[in-house]
């Protein structure tokens, strides 16, 4: 063991640079995996935690007043019931701002199922009939503190001031503002005061199930039991969870995927480096066996060494992530902060570490095994005739070709299998860099061409306290507004009636909204609809099919004529023309207007102008661009390109070293024949550059294909839908490729110069046995 350590130490000292590079690569990979882990946990965990603590309900069903919910409690697999609670919708007003609110009537006793977790303040108190408990994300968004007051405006416009008794976490719905309306609990008496009309009171009932996986099925049963006319809304826990975790989960997945691919690339790089080292050290290994190393010990030498490097990298990475992670900007830093406080952290860290170290060890196993098989007798014999190269060299000199080119290409592809492997290993990081650049370009697309990505409107305006005509006039008077499309959104039960999606009516027949279509065509008729990917997934429908949805008790039979790109609401959005919602009472009133601005207009300025012009009676909000949240992705992309570049560098060092080793003797012959050292250096550099060029071509090609696929897959998974992927610009790719080749040439110059400076005789005798 001591002897092994002694050798490992000496070997590491002899290959300091390479070892440091491997440690660095491992460290960076460890950091990205840890960050990914933290983000994924952060994304899923708060909800998970709350759900567990509150014994959350798996299915929430809103029914009309008067419906009998008792049969639901007897449904198969239901183990607990929350409610039914009477609910009423209202607005929460704060200054010019107004948010929609679901008021839920609850007793002074906390329920046992789906129990709100009071985070600050206290629960409802019969002594304070004007008390309200706000869901915590809503409270945060409204900056409402315990002890303060909020104004609730009822459906009829009457306002009422209520005192915030407490703030509570709930797993019943997603966090505000991603999930609207926000949630607040009041005493039944208070609810009656806000909504005196029983016809507008709904019942919300939560079902806790034995098997969470059967939520869809149970929801469907519930709707059948009650009759779909009675049900206004159905939500399953999966919907809530995905709404809670969306942003960070995507980012975490992205990081995780890249981290894993980087790990594979690093493992390959390790295998390559270790293999090269074994080849370079055949004699030393024979010597070790001569002095009494057993084959198993030789195998262990290499395994220990690379595992030690991986461990060092892992430790460095974990240390760096723990120390500096929380200091990172934005969600990353927050996630790391939360992660550090988590008890499960040690396990995750251990698992990540074990995974990384194991992959590296596994990658070293093959070269190590080969080292173990090297015979002890020093019988390295020159098995290749050297005449080939000298004939070629002579020919090249005769033809007055630049010898570097002729000989360099021969040197590069002299052994096709090895050259192929080198190209393949180099191509992997290049491919991943291309994918990273593709992600970057896609983000650029979101920012520069929001229209193509379903973000035609950059503002929404909601009239409050003024009538439709006045609102419309205000909007058309604003010069920066190119078009204002009236819209309304209501929840709709999907076919199968297991969940609700948002049915959005936007634009009119003679003034259709410019949906960003990925497939099909725009709405041309009142029974036509376009759907986001999320909606299609939920409805198990495809473009061209007919679907039946139930909105506000009214069934609508719609022909899905297109799929639009929906960056919002997980893409669970079915869009129709405003006329499609027309009932006996004519077209419904516009709830809001989607404002498309003239090119170059500044949304913030327009918003200010509109707010001023309407004296606060238009609630104008910017449409959230996911690119703004995904800005973090850019940081990640830059980091990843860094890691991949490091890995690529490690591969290059290996490739140059093994190329040199193959050709030391040839180079001696060349120099003996009269090539200048500079020409010989040029040959080596050319050979590396050619290999890199091949790798760049292969890597970029594959990368572009993969990038489109990956991003679209991600889009599909997130409900946004395929069709958002953008290719990196050709000139970007060209630049990246050129830089890669240039770097490769530079990296190979140093060892090449060193090799050519070696004495000719030394080079010639290097292959003697």
């Amino acid at each position: 063991m001591r002897a092994l350590l002694r050798w490992v130490r000496a070997d590491l000292r002899a290959h300091r640079g390479q070892a440091a590079l491997m440690v660095l690569v491992t460290a960076v990979i460890a950091v990205s995996l840890i960050l990914a882990n933290a983000l994924l946990r952060d994304a899923a965990n708060p909800w998970q935690r709350i759900f567990l603590q509150s014994r959350g309900a798996h299915v929430w069903i809103h029914v009309r007043s008067g419906a009998d919910t008792a049969p639901l409690t007897r449904l198969d697999g239901v183990t607990g019931v929350a409610g039914p609670y009477s609910t009423a919708s209202a607005d929460l007003v704060r200054g010019a701002e107004k948010v929609s609110l679901e008021l839920r009537a609850a007793g002074p006793q906390l329920p046992s199922v789906a129990r709100p977790l009071v985070r600050s303040g206290r629960w409802l108190d019969p002594a304070r009939s004007d008390g309200i408990v706000l869901e915590s994300s809503l409270a945060r968004a409204m900056r409402a503190d315990v002890g303060g007051t909020v104004t609730v405006r009822a459906r009829d416009g009457a306002t009422r001031t209520m005192r915030v008794l407490g703030v509570a976490d709930s797993a019943d719905q997603g966090s505000y503002p991603d999930w609207t309306p926000g949630l607040g609990w009041v005493l039944p008496t208070a609810l009656d005061r806000v909504e005196p009309d029983p016809a507008h009171i709904q019942q919300a009932i939560g079902l806790r199930l034995r098997d969470p996986g059967s939520a869809d099925f149970t929801a469907q049963q519930a709707v059948t039991t009650l009759g779909s006319g009675q049900v206004t809304q159905v939500t399953t826990w999966q919907q809530v969870r995905s709404a809670m975790g969306q942003d960070n989960r995507l980012l975490g997945l992205l990081l995780g995927v890249f981290g894993l691919v980087a790990l594979v690339a690093a493992a390959l790089a390790t295998a390559g480096a270790a293999g090269g080292r074994v080849l370079a050290q055949v004699r030393d290994i024979a010597m070790l066996k001569t002095v009494g190393f057993t084959p198993a010990q030789v195998v262990r030498l290499f395994l220990y060494e690379h595992t030690a490097l991986a461990l060092a990298g892992m430790a460095l990475g974990a240390g760096a992530a723990s120390l500096f992670g929380p200091l990172l900007p934005g969600a990353l830093g927050e996630a790391m902060g939360v992660w550090q406080a988590e008890p499960a952290r040690a396990g995750a860290l251990a698992a990540t570490g074990a995974g990384v170290v194991l992959s590296i060890a596994l990658a070293t196993a093959l070269p190590a095994w080969r080292a173990g098989r090297i015979p002890a007798a020093p019988t390295v014999r020159a098995d290749r005739p050297a005449s080939g190269i000298s004939r070629l060299a002579r020919l090249a000199l005769l033809l007055k070709l630049p010898p570097a080119l002729a000989l360099g290409s021969r040197a590069a592809f002299h052994r096709p299998l090895r050259a192929g492997l080198t190209v393949a290993r180099l191509a992997i990081p290049i491919m991943m860099i291309t994918v990273a650049l593709g992600s970057w370009a896609t983000l650029d697309g979101f920012q520069d061409h929001p229209r193509q990505l379903g973000l035609a409107a950059s503002l929404t305006a909601r009239p409050s306290g003024i009538d439709d005509a006045a609102a419309r006039r205000l909007l058309t008077e604003q010069p920066a507004v190119a078009a204002a499309y009236p819209g309304a959104e209501i929840p709709a039960l999907v076919p199968g009636e297991t969940t609700t999606i948002t049915l959005r009516a936007l634009g009119t027949a003679d003034h259709p909204y410019p949906f960003a279509l990925a497939a099909g065509h725009l709405i041309r008729d009142e029974d036509e609809a376009v759907a986001g990917q999320g909606a299609l997934n939920l409805m198990h429908a495809k473009v061209g099919e007919w679907v039946r949805v139930t909105a506000g008790g009214t069934p609508h039979i719609l022909h899905i004529v297109g799929r639009d790109i929906e960056p919002d609401h997980n893409g669970e959005m079915l869009s129709v023309d405003l006329g499609a919602l027309a009932g006996p009472g004519g077209t419904p009133k516009a709830q809001y207007y989607a404002l498309v601005l003239r090119p170059g207009a500044n949304p913030t300025a327009v918003r200010t102008d509109l707010l001023a012009a309407s004296h606060g009676r238009l609630d104008v909000r910017p449409v959230a661009n996911p690119a703004a949240q995904l800005g973090l992705v850019r940081v990640v992309v830059v980091g990843l390109v860094g890691v991949l570049t490091l890995i690529g560098l490690a591969e290059l060092v290996t490739a140059t070293a093994s190329g040199l080793r193959d050709h030391v003797r040839d180079l001696g012959v060349l120099r003996a024949m009269g090539l200048t050292p500079r020409q010989v250096t040029a040959i080596i550099v050319t050979s590396t550059a050619l290999l890199t060029t091949a790798a760049v071509l292969a890597g970029t090609g594959l990368g572009v294909l993969l990038s489109n696929r990956l991003i679209n897959m991600e889009g599909q998974a997130s409900g946004v839908g395929a069709g958002i992927a953008r290719m990196p610009a050709p000139e970007t790719l060209l630049m990246a490729g050129a830089v890669a080749v240039a770097v490769a040439a530079c990296v190979s110059v140093v060892p090449a110069t060193r090799a050519t400076r070696a004495r000719i005789t030394a080079a010639l005798s290097a292959n003697r046995t």
């Binding site: 010597m287 066996k289 190393f293």
Partner: protein
């Protein structure tokens, strides 16, 4: 010591029963060794039916033209290569059937080997190269270091301990190699042209060292082209075409020339 002459040695080494025991004084005993190197289309009969016995404390040289199979024979005896057939006893133990790993363990304590080139692990300092086998054989780092310092003092290498092999001259490298081979006080020292790469001055130095260790009881089997080197041995075996052509004990110095005049006269 009543060392058996060449002829008796051969007679003693020919029994073909498998259960014979080696004579107690034999450090190394090989019977009917055969090794054929098989190439793609050629087969080289490098060692053919060689019987060989080296007694404890003996210094035996193997001579022969290039390609005679000297190195191959040495590799077989050191377990670096396996014979196609034949039996080998080392220090009383039958070793020809040992696995590679067992051979490695055996080499740590029983066999020291020196080659012509590439005797040292390139990445390690001279000191580490010598201490490595000592550590491998189970010495504590301190013991290994003490033993190494002792050897380096004997071999006049004290100020070279921190150098890497590349920074050493050929003669110094061979002396370090000798130290490496002797650090565990092996029963048998195998040397394959240890001076083949050296000029005459360094050759003389290495020979003197070998003679010194031999005088203190070290058993040595040495392969060489160089008659000067071979003349330091007690016995010279001539290998020709993979077979032993001659096996002769060298006489006591009284029988040889005592002055250069004798030499000149001999050369007539």
């Amino acid at each position: 010591m009543s060392r058996s002459g060449p002829d008796t040695a051969r007679v003693a080494a020919t029994p073909d029963a498998d259960h014979v025991l080696p004579p107690a004084e034999a450090m190394l005993w090989a019977q009917d060794l055969v090794k054929t190197h098989r190439g793609a289309e050629t087969a080289t009969h490098a060692v053919r039916h060689v019987d060989l016995r080296v007694d404890r404390g003996e210094f035996v040289a193997i001579m022969g033209p290039s390609g005679a199979g000297k190195s191959t024979l040495l590799h077989l005896l050191g377990g670096l290569d396996r014979p196609d057939s034949g039996r080998i006893w080392l220090d009383g133990q039958r070793v020809d059937g040992l696995s590679e790993a067992r051979w490695s363990l055996l080499r740590r304590r029983t066999v020291g080997i020196v080659f012509q080139f590439f005797n040292l692990v390139t990445n390690m300092t001279a000191a580490d190269n010598v201490e490595l086998p000592a550590l491998l054989a189970g010495m504590s780092p301190r013991q290994a270091r003490a033993r190494r310092e002792e050897l380096f003092a004997e071999l006049d290498l004290e100020d070279r301990a921190r150098s890497t092999p590349a920074a050493l001259s050929g003669g110094e490298q061979q002396r370090v190699a000798l130290a490496r081979a002797l650090v565990n006080e092996p029963g048998l020292l195998l040397a394959d042209e240890p001076t083949g790469n050296l000029d005459s001055r360094n050759t003389r130095d290495v020979l003197r060292l070998l003679a010194r260790y031999h005088a203190s009881g070290q058993t040595i089997l040495l392969v060489t082209h160089d008659a000067r080197v071979a003349s330091g041995a007690d016995r010279v075996i001539s290998l020709f075409d993979g077979e032993i052509a001659d096996d002769t004990a060298l006489h006591a110095p009284a029988d040889g020339p005592t002055t250069v005049a004798d030499v000149l006269r001999l050369k007539g």
